[in-house]
């Protein structure tokens, strides 16, 4: 067995041998060894790059497609993370051993937990990428290793014997749409306590007997992923509680802060060329270079001379991101609102304050960042009368279709977009919208921010908004930061 032959090659002591006996981990136990600061840093940065890749690829490709897998494979080997169990069998000529890769995987995960446990947003992002990463690696495991993995991690899901399968053949076939006679013969079936597969039980999609559900191999992934998500979520909550102790260490604090800010990547909050857009240009720009969500908001504002709070925030911050100055913004909003039911005085009293607030000129002076696609899609869903949100996510597909038709998108393009929406690939749908409205085949970027959409569009069209240079925010110790950030900066500027 592979497991036993590996023992000869492992360098560590028997405890770590056990820890890294499998290439895939649930990250149950934290590392207990000492590592150098530079290793700490390298491991963390490498894993962050890996997770960023996972995020970007997840937006551009369907997560189980061949292209996705190939690209992720490449990144894995570039960054020296363990990914293929066959790597066991031969000693690599150069570079780190399998053991070292697994150790890196283990340690880097725990370091990033420290950086990403602090806020709900950070946790959500981290969990999402780690889940996608886990799914990719789990799907890669050959089936005999799955059994091993499950046992290793105390998941008491056993496969049923061939005899049992024969006995239950009829029941298995009639329980699930996806299961035919040949599936029963060819694939493994797992016996799982029903409490661990509630969604399958609730919808009667699986055979249930004696308190156990019988799940075909392809569905066991969902069960395992749910388990992974629950464990990680709980662990992050716990980590957050012990964080103050870690943060008090001066050596670690700057790096951890930097890592958690770096995930946002380009947050479009500091522009070098502010004021390059004039107010008269906004209407034509909205038709040419705005993503659909902002176009909708702008239209809504022009039509009713008003936007509700959610819309004002989403659009207002976007405008800041494309380069409007505070004065321009005030003028823009006032002129529009005054055409409606709001007189100039009321505007100055009520709405102006909130616009200045957006620019960091009021209250605690936080300079708010324009919303990313994730934020728009996931938080604050619009209700009746709201214009904000992501039209691909929040609009009724019929209405979306009509809107796209009115914007002269071709019928085939519309159906492509609607397909993506059905598959819940909202950012891909927006990217498609970009490609169709700019008449190009491939947008050349992975969309994750409305201001990114605007910038890319302006770059293509050679407009004034393209010259906006973007920087990652930095608030920590400049000396330490300088060493580390070179690495991160160079990574993020190729987006």
């Amino acid at each position: 067995m592979q497991f036993y032959s590996r023992r000869k090659k492992l360098i560590g002591n028997s405890q770590t041998e056990q820890l890294y006996g499998h290439c895939l981990q649930f990250y149950g136990q934290p590392p207990i060894e000492n590592i150098s600061l530079s290793e700490f840093e390298t491991f963390a940065v490498d894993r962050l790059k890996l997770l960023k890749t996972v995020e970007n690829l997840g937006v551009s490709y369907v997560k189980t497609s061949e292209l996705y897998t190939k690209k992720l494979d490449a990144e894995f080997s570039n960054l020296n993370f363990p990914y293929k169990i066959e790597a066991d069998d031969w000693k690599p000529q150069t570079g780190p051993s399998e053991y070292e890769k697994r150790r890196k995987d283990h340690i880097s995960h725990f370091i990033l937990r420290l950086a990403y446990c602090q806020t709900e947003d950070l946790r959500r992002w981290f969990i999402q990428q780690e889940i996608d990463l886990f799914r990719y690696r789990f799907n890669d495991l050959p089936s005999k290793n799955i059994g091993q993995f499950l046992q290793y991690n105390n998941l008491h899901y056993h496969t049923i014997s061939i005899d049992e399968k024969k006995k239950l053949m009829d029941k298995l076939v009639t329980s699930s749409f996806a299961v035919s006679g040949s599936t029963v013969d060819g694939k493994d079936f797992y016996k799982v306590p029903f409490q661990d597969a509630l969604d399958l039980v609730r919808t009667r999609k699986v055979y249930l007997n004696g308190g156990y559900v019988y799940i075909p191999h392809q569905d066991i992934v969902t069960i395992v992923l749910n388990d992974f998500r629950t464990r990680l979520s709980k662990a992050l909550a716990l980590t957050a509680r012990s964080l103050p102790a870690v943060q008090s260490d001066e050596r670690l604090q700057p790096l951890l802060n930097h890592l958690s800010h770096a995930y946002v990547g380009q947050d479009y909050s500091i522009q070098k060329s502010i004021g390059k857009i004039s107010l008269e240009q906004i209407d034509p720009l909205s038709a040419k270079s705005y993503p659909l969500c902002m176009r909708q908001l702008h239209r809504g504002l022009r039509d009713s001379h008003h936007l509700r709070h959610g819309g004002r925030m989403q659009y207002g911050l976007f405008l800041k991101g494309i380069g409007l100055t505070l004065d321009q913004a005030l003028q823009f909003w006032r002129s529009e609102f005054v055409k409606g039911k709001v007189d100039a005085d009321k505007f100055d009293k009520a709405y102006a304050y909130s616009i200045r607030h957006m620019f960091g000129k009021e209250g605690k002076r936080t300079d708010y960042t324009p919303y990313s696609c994730m934020k728009v899609i996931l938080s604050n869903p619009p209700s009746q009368g709201d214009q904000h949100g992501c039209p691909f996510r929040h609009s009724d597909p019929e209405l979306l279709k009509q809107k796209l038709q009115s914007y002269k998108v071709s019928p085939s393009g519309i159906s492509q977009i609607l397909e993506l929406v059905k598959g819940m690939h909202y950012q891909l749908a927006c990217q498609k919208y970009f490609e169709l409205t700019h008449s190009i085949e491939d947008s050349g970027f992975s969309l994750n921010h409305p201001n990114q959409y605007f910038m890319e569009s302006q770059k293509l069209l050679g407009g004034p908004g393209a010259g906006v240079k973007v920087e990652v925010k930095r608030e920590d110790n400049p000396e330490v930061a300088a060493e580390i950030t070179e690495d991160l900066d160079s990574f993020f500027q190729d987006a």
């Binding site: 749409f177 009667r204 055979y207």
Partner: protein, 425 residues
């Protein structure tokens, strides 16, 4: 003795007698203590009482069986509900830091109410029941009990007559008591086939593949369908009833016309049903999609309708077994599944009946027992005499005893199994 003898106004006189001499406290405590395996399981259980004049008190809890008895004899509740086992004693919940007082465990429960079938029973409506529609409860118990046992692996299900128009099920397995809200909800959904309210005409929709659970449930329904629905409820008799059935058939004009024409000459409901059945089977042979309308009709008319909300909540309060139903006077007694088809809700003893039976002259044996106990009383010991043995309540307490004995046996089995695993000798 008929229920005509029960009068709600006499409850204030009957209840004290019931709680002093008839209520099976020792069995009740044995049940809720669950072998004393978990510390404070009984002490942390919530009870709620409805007292005279509709006064409702929650978060009652008791340290011992004795305390429970004394309190109930003092308060003489009209109704008793059982809630969850909490993290702290419910009667001290106000002293607990807010957020810490949590419902931890409770039996998985189901409540089947006859009023939920009003759209498919023609004999009664509302709170009324009769032997004809009671069959629905029989069907419900058979289907659900099988599923809980075979599909979910639960072994200790106590079925209880609610006292008026339905039945309750208490699933007492340890695994069941520990289920989360999400799990209870999933179990209830798994068991639900009839969906929709007044505005929904077609409440059962079946599609390929037909899950084994549905097949098993249909087998039960088929056993009763002819007697209950075709003859008893006469669902293919009057024009009105037939129209209701036709509303559930596919909207195929040709098909319906043929059927109506046939019905003009054929008046026998069983023959009419056979025709509908064979037409469904024909359609299945020829059409690409599965047409299961004859099964859908059977299920809509007979399949159990449960209230998911009752089953979902860990802290949901449900009427206690051996509680009295104030409106009918009937005691909520356990149902013997071995004699299920013979269960008659109208034969269930009322509180007035059993109180009367108490007054009947004692037999010699009992008189001797009485003397002994009198002596003990004089000795300062207060021993409660269980008079229920002389009343119609006896056989139901015996049923309950058997149920408790089975659970105790299971618990012993578990302990042995665990100690074997740990190699304790």
């Amino acid at each position: 003795m008929t229920t005509a003898d029960y009068d709600q106004a006499s409850l204030p006189d009957l209840l004290p007698l019931y709680y002093r001499r008839l209520f099976p406290f020792s069995q009740y405590h044995r049940w809720l203590n669950y072998g004393g395996v978990t510390k404070n399981y009984f002490q942390n259980r919530e009870f709620s009482f409805t007292l005279k004049d509709d006064i409702y008190v929650r978060y009652q809890s008791f340290s011992t069986q004795n305390e429970l008895e004394k309190e109930m004899q003092k308060m003489n509740p009209y109704k008793i509900d059982i809630g969850a086992v909490y993290s702290h004693r419910p009667n001290q919940h106000n002293t607990v830091k807010s957020g810490s007082f949590q419902a931890l465990e409770k039996e998985l429960v189901f409540d089947i109410d006859m009023t939920d079938y009003d759209d498919v029973r023609s004999c009664c409506s509302g709170a009324d029941i009769c032997p004809k529609c009671w069959t629905l409860m029989t069907i419900a118990i058979r289907i659900l009990d099988r599923a809980l046992r075979d599909d979910f692996g639960f072994r200790h299900c106590l079925w209880v007559y609610s006292g008026r128009r339905g039945v309750h099920c208490w699933v007492c397995d340890e695994a069941a008591r520990k289920l989360s809200v999400a799990a209870r909800s999933a179990v209830a959904e798994y068991l639900s086939l009839v969906k929709g309210g007044d505005e929904t005409v077609r409440k059962v929709v079946l599609s390929d593949p037909i899950h084994p659970f549905i097949t098993e449930s249909l087998t039960v329904v088929e056993n009763y369908f002819s007697q209950y629905a075709l003859l008893g409820q006469d669902i293919l008799g009057s024009k009105e009833a037939v129209d209701k059935v036709l509303a559930l058939l596919p909207e195929d004009i040709l098909f319906l016309c043929k059927l109506l024409q046939y019905f003009q000459t054929e008046k026998n409901p069983e023959k009419r049903w056979d025709t509908i059945r064979s037409m469904a089977q024909d359609k299945r042979m020829t059409a690409k999609k599965g047409h299961y309308f004859e099964m859908e009709i059977m299920l809509q008319y007979c399949y159990p309708r449960l209230d998911v909300n009752v089953s979902k909540g860990v802290n949901h309060l449900l009427k206690s077994p051996f509680s009295v139903h104030p409106k009918t006077g009937r005691i909520s007694v356990p149902i013997d599944l071995r004699e299920l088809d013979r269960f008659d809700p109208f034969e269930v003893p009322t509180i007035s009946l059993i109180c009367e039976e108490l007054d009947q002259p004692k037999t010699e044996e009992e008189q001797d027992d009485n003397m002994e106990n009198e002596n003990k009383k004089e000795a300062g010991e207060r021993r409660k005499m269980r008079d229920y043995k002389r009343t119609s309540l006896a056989k139901y307490v015996k049923l309950f005893d058997n149920f408790l004995e089975e659970m105790a046996h299971s618990r012993k089995g578990e302990v042995l199994k665990n100690s074997d695993l740990q190699k304790d000798f």
